[in-house]
Subunit: 332 residues, 2 copies
């Protein structure tokens, strides 16, 4: 970590990883650092599984499976089939190759290695040139309060396909979690040109990162402009339950709702052309708005959106005074 | 375990499993109980792996891989390939389907289930009608003393391909290990017609079972005749390091050496036609010898040898007094 990054991105899984791949084309790769959401991490079959960090890893190494939208491209499923034959749990699909990462990571964690050190080793072995850093080496686990009770995130997200209505969130462990080594320094570095909040779910992909007190404070203090890309287009999430969750929590479900969510924290928000009419109310919140195509289908889309985000950040003033995120009350 | 078995077999891996498959054809299957060697069990990548019990499980369910001689027939190897890509250990090959058994078993053990209960559930799920019982729910681990130091069994057997010269053995944990539930009762039952020592390596497949004090005592006390099948034919092991190990430990490496090894414990020994000239010196040890084809290539070979072993046992008198195994001094 001797060279400080020029761009720090905060990302969840698939949607965020698309922009990260674009950023990796636009920034010298060793000058890009991605903070991966760890709230989705969970223990399953005795394994520690880190879905968002792994999605970033597979996307960054070109091993991602664009057909499935998750997992590895060169995957087989024998393990899962036999787990079913043996009466084991099959609600969370684990590919045979993916499993290697979970088994090796879990073993190294049990031997006392730090998660961030393991993931840094793994991303280098897979040839990922930018840094992928879990938000914390301390476990933080998202729970969802719903009309069906308080449920661990993956049980709600995968096991119940997001069906139970959401009434609250908890990020268990966040109060005491420390930022992973190097993150506070990277966010405070003079070299930093932009902080990018990727188009990930604000509630379950970005908020858990911000729930790590030391990280949130470092992000609020960053001199570089902070730019977010709205994950909602035309009032809908391109993928995942962001719109559903935000509606159920009375936060609204459009680009303006994203602006309100991040108010006080971000300097600029990129919204889709479909939401151009929301630019003005967003700017009235003190957030600069940029209208751009945000739907990333091709690699070119990713690169163009990344370039737009970085160019946008360059137009925004650096901050001498710390920001103060006006966190919505439903966010823990 | 309300119905007591008529035949109890002691078995290691591949060689023993062949005879077990034959026995399962000759005995009503719910009246066959196989005690699986657990000395080969080990912990690897955070998983508890039980090679001999698993080999019996796969052989009994027809899932075994006759080409490889180990593992499952319907196997893929993606996990192992990625473990290699990630810099993990590849010296012990784990197939993707095989891994499901290891992951589920390890998870259930961590949750406090007994190994014997887990294996009984698994064999039923895989449709194995005879019982496969690990010798103990307490871990026993074989170590090999060699000219390259004291090595855990699998490191020596797989990792070093049995190369280091053997000077001794240790069965760590055997002193305090208790027989798995039901085994002592099965060995003491009136219904028991024969105890069969399968053609497995005496030193590392059968001796660890006998090292569990309560089991050895129950076997010595069994009223039913005890019959062994020599794993050595013409002075060689059909598979594995039995002859090499026995030579290095100055035990000899022929059928007579097998008889000497088990002297005091077994009532009869089946030796191959190639070793017919050793029948007389074997009988001079007080062990009845039967010459029969012991090389099992086809299923018919297995069934015929099993039938011969059971018929042989029927010719031997039941024991009213406990036996006393004259254990070779090199056996712990």
């Amino acid at each position: 970590m001797s060279e400080q990054p020029h761009v720090v991105a905060l990302s969840g899984g698939v949607g965020g990883a698309k922009l990260v791949v674009g950023l990796a084309h636009e920034v010298e790769q060793d000058r890009l650092l991605v903070i991966a959401n760890g709230g989705d991490d969970f223990e399953h079959l005795g394994l520690t599984i880190c879905p968002d960090a792994d999605t970033l890893l597979y996307a960054g190494s070109g091993l991602d499976n664009p057909k499935l939208g998750w997992g590895r491209c060169d995957e087989t499923w024998t393990f899962m089939r036999v787990v079913g034959d043996l009466g084991g749990p099959t609600w969370f699909q684990l590919g045979d190759g993916d499993l290697a990462l979970h088994v090796l990571r879990s073993e190294r964690l049990r031997h006392g290695e730090r998660l961030s050190a393991i993931m840094d080793d793994v991303r280098q072995r897979l040839g990922v040139l930018f840094r992928i850093v879990p938000m914390s080496d301390d476990p933080v686990r998202t729970w969802v309060e719903t009309d069906a009770g308080r449920i661990p995130f993956q049980d709600w997200f995968v096991g119940r396909r997001c069906a139970p209505r959401v009434s609250g969130l908890a990020f268990v462990g966040a109060e005491t979690a420390r930022p992973a080594p190097g993150l506070v320094e990277a966010l405070g570095a003079q070299e930093l040109e932009a902080v990018v909040l990727c188009p990930s779910n604000p509630l379950i992909s970005v908020a858990p990162i911000l729930a790590v007190e030391g990280l949130r404070a470092a992000i609020e203090r960053a001199g570089a402009p902070i730019v977010a890309v709205s994950p909602l287009v035309g009032g809908r999430a391109l993928k995942g339950p962001a719109a559903k969750m935000m509606s159920e929590l009375d936060l609204g479900s459009d680009a303006l709702a994203i602006a309100r969510f991040y108010a006080g924290l971000i300097d600029g928000l990129i919204i889709d052309q479909a939401d151009a009419n929301q630019a003005r109310p967003i700017e009235e919140l003190g957030i600069r708005a940029l209208v751009a195509p945000t739907v990333m289908t091709s690699l070119d889309d990713r690169i163009e959106l990344a370039a737009a985000a970085l160019a946008f950040a360059r137009t925004l003033p650096r901050r001498a005074q710390p920001r103060r995120w006006r966190k919505p009350s439903v966010v823990p």
